[in-house]
């Protein structure tokens, strides 16, 4: 039993944290949101580092690492709230690599990893980076379908630092079903991003309430504020436990990935809303301004929650699976 990252994984996380802190401070996120365009220089650098193919086999140009490395990098993407199409690319590539046919792998993976092709992911009505995508992995019920060059309409959401699209039903209907597990890998990836953005919201809040003074003392010394921060930690760590568990299952026990990923999705969907909302509240009026930057986290959190399909459906699915297992008599 060892529920911790390895030295190498910590190193990947540290490098990602440092690079994104240097290249993608929140001022750049705001710029991307205001201009409505991704940070292309950042994206080229990310492609150069091979993060889009971190969990893709070397045979297809990837790094040949696993679910844990994927989760760790996406966690840092979330922490930075970076404006680059990494989540869509890395999640789609991991799903195609793990669950696609050889033909699909050959057709899509080398191009995605090299940054020459663009991928969309998500439900048809809310496909992240789906507009003009070369390929989309569409979440459809509990499964996923691969759609080449989907027809789409761009969709503006409350998160202007990201591009979304509504995919035409007709092109999704013509998609090729991906093997079991593709949807799980996509949800696990989104959940990983949520862990990072919650961690950022928590750290920004702790720093702020330690500095900001009212009534002659730091506002963080008021228990209502301090307890709110403790709740934020609880939610963040809950989402992290579940996301890391799913990442481990993806590599070590794929038969458990379905439930592990539903668990991660449920915990993330809850945290994605609560933690950034608390961050805004604890910042007071400043937190409600465009300048203060906590709102980017709230916006990403709400939209990620929708990408995950909310918490309720995962809760219900998990309860029914647990009841079925009990009825079957296994422990």
């Amino acid at each position: 039993m060892d529920f911790d990252l390895t030295e190498e994984q910590r190193e990947i996380k540290r490098v990602a944290r440092e690079l994104l802190a240097a290249r993608s401070p929140l001022s750049r996120v705001r710029e991307a949101a205001e201009t409505g365009a991704y940070d292309q220089a950042l994206w080229r650098e990310i492609v150069g580092l091979g993060w889009g193919g971190i969990a893709v086999s070397q045979a297809w140009g990837g790094q040949g690492l696993g679910g844990i490395e994927l989760v760790v990098v996406l966690e840092e993407l979330g922490f930075a709230c970076a404006a680059a199409p990494l989540l869509s690319t890395a999640a789609a590539a991991a799903a195609i690599d793990a669950c696609g046919s050889d033909a699909q792998r050959e057709r899509w993976l080398p191009g995605l990893v090299a940054g020459d092709l663009r991928a969309g992911v998500g439900p048809a009505a809310l496909a992240l980076d789906g507009h003009g995508a070369d390929v989309a992995v569409v979440l459809d019920g509990e499964g996923a379908v691969l759609v080449a060059a989907p027809e789409s309409e761009p969709l503006e959401t409350i998160d202007p630092a990201r591009r979304f699209a509504a995919l035409a039903r007709s092109s999704v209907a013509g998609g090729e079903p991906l093997g079991a597990g593709a949807a799980d890998l996509i949800r696990m990836s989104i959940a990983a991003e949520v862990v990072g953005l919650c961690q950022r919201a928590l750290e920004m809040t702790v720093a702020y309430v330690g500095e900001r003074r009212q009534f002659g003392v730091p506002v963080g010394s008021f228990q209502a504020v301090a307890h709110r921060c403790a709740e934020m930690l609880l939610q963040t760590e809950s989402a992290r436990s579940a996301a890391y568990h799913a990442a481990w299952a993806a590599g070590a026990e794929p038969t458990r990935l379905g439930e592990a990923s539903a668990l991660a999705a449920a915990a993330a969907a809850t945290a994605a809303r609560e933690v950034p909302a608390s961050a805004i509240q604890a910042h007071g009026g400043i937190g409600f301004t465009w300048e203060a930057d906590v709102h980017w986290l709230y916006k990403r959190g709400e939209v990620d929650r929708a990408l995950l399909g909310g918490a309720g459906a995962h809760h219900a699915r998990l309860a029914r699976a647990a009841a079925a297992r009990l009825a079957g008599g296994s422990p």
Binding site: M1, D2, F3, D4, L5, T6, Q9, I68, L202, V206, V209, G210, V217, P218, G220, S221, F222, Q223, A226, H227, C229, A230, E231, L233, L234, E237, S238, S241, A242, Y244, H245, A247, W248, A249, A252, L263, A266, A267, A311, G312, H314, H315, A316, R317, L318, A319, R320, A322, A323, L326, A327, P331
Partner: protein
Amino acid sequence: MDLTFSESELAFRDDLRAWFRAHAPAPEPQGDELAHFCWRRDYQRLLARDGWAAVHWPARYGGRGATLTESAIFFVELGRHGAPMMANVLGLLLAGPTIMSWGTDAQKERHLGPILTAEEIWCQGFSEPDAGSDLASLKTRARRERGHWVVTGQKVWTSGAQHSKWCMLLARTDPDAPRHKGLTYFLMDMEQDAVDVRPLRQITGSSEFNELFIDGAVISDEQVLGGVGNGWGVALTTLMNERAGLAFFLQVRLRQLLDRLLREAADRGLLADQAVAERLGELHVRAEVLRLTAYRGLTTVQKYGQPGPEGSLTKWMWSDANQRLTQLAADLLGPQALAAGGSWGYELLRARGNSIEGGTTEVLKNIVAERVLGLPKSR
């Protein structure tokens, strides 16, 4: 990351499972508190006879020198096999480890054996009527008189005192010292006239805890633990052990209760209702996240030697989940869950104590905010 057990951990678990299968616990006595205590004591004796009562203790004190993971496995299996928590849980998890850390050789020699075999039961005399969350304000006084200590004061909420031979007693020896400095940790013999144990009736109707009226109890110098004036430091050792040890047992019990509710809900066809399935699933997520976070905490302690944020969170997560679970049972099962003397009704009421015993949730949040997040001390 490897969330499976190693070969030696699996071997440990298999041995343990074989033992539990060969020693199925007698049916749990209902209603009678003393019978229930004896059931737990007898089972502990059986465990102790075969070296299973305190796997986390070093071998020279009758344990197995088990790793933290093995110790977690022990508590998980204990829960899974429907075996009772050891009658001397406070002795095994609190008094024993505190004596191992601070005790003299003579104290270890005298006390550890009878703790293990449940010959001598222990209770924890910390809380007082005016000192609960603010433990350091306690007033029970120990004075020097003719070469020994004489104690006067009152303790409250003392679980298991009615069965106890010994009490971990925190008392004030120097009223003029700063409040954390004037305390001493005593091992007090409960079998003396000056110690009066009066049961307190809990909201469940039963009496797990008591009041302790102490009027001139005598304690010798040999029963001071960790030095005069050092009581706060010693008490912290006890409190640290309190949070770590029980987590896995409680987590398994939560899981079993949830499984029972899932079964009963499925039998009534309630899972077809989406709203019901969602509420049950929300608890399933809480139970699983608690389990995973407890294992993460274990790895942190094992690798880095000190607890990470996970340790402070799990007791809070557990009490919250257990309370929600028993309330959901009341919502879903209706009058049946609320019948007097029924087990769901008992669980519903007993769960209210979860967020108070062993440190209230509010106090745990203060600890998380101040020690884990480094926020300024709260007001």
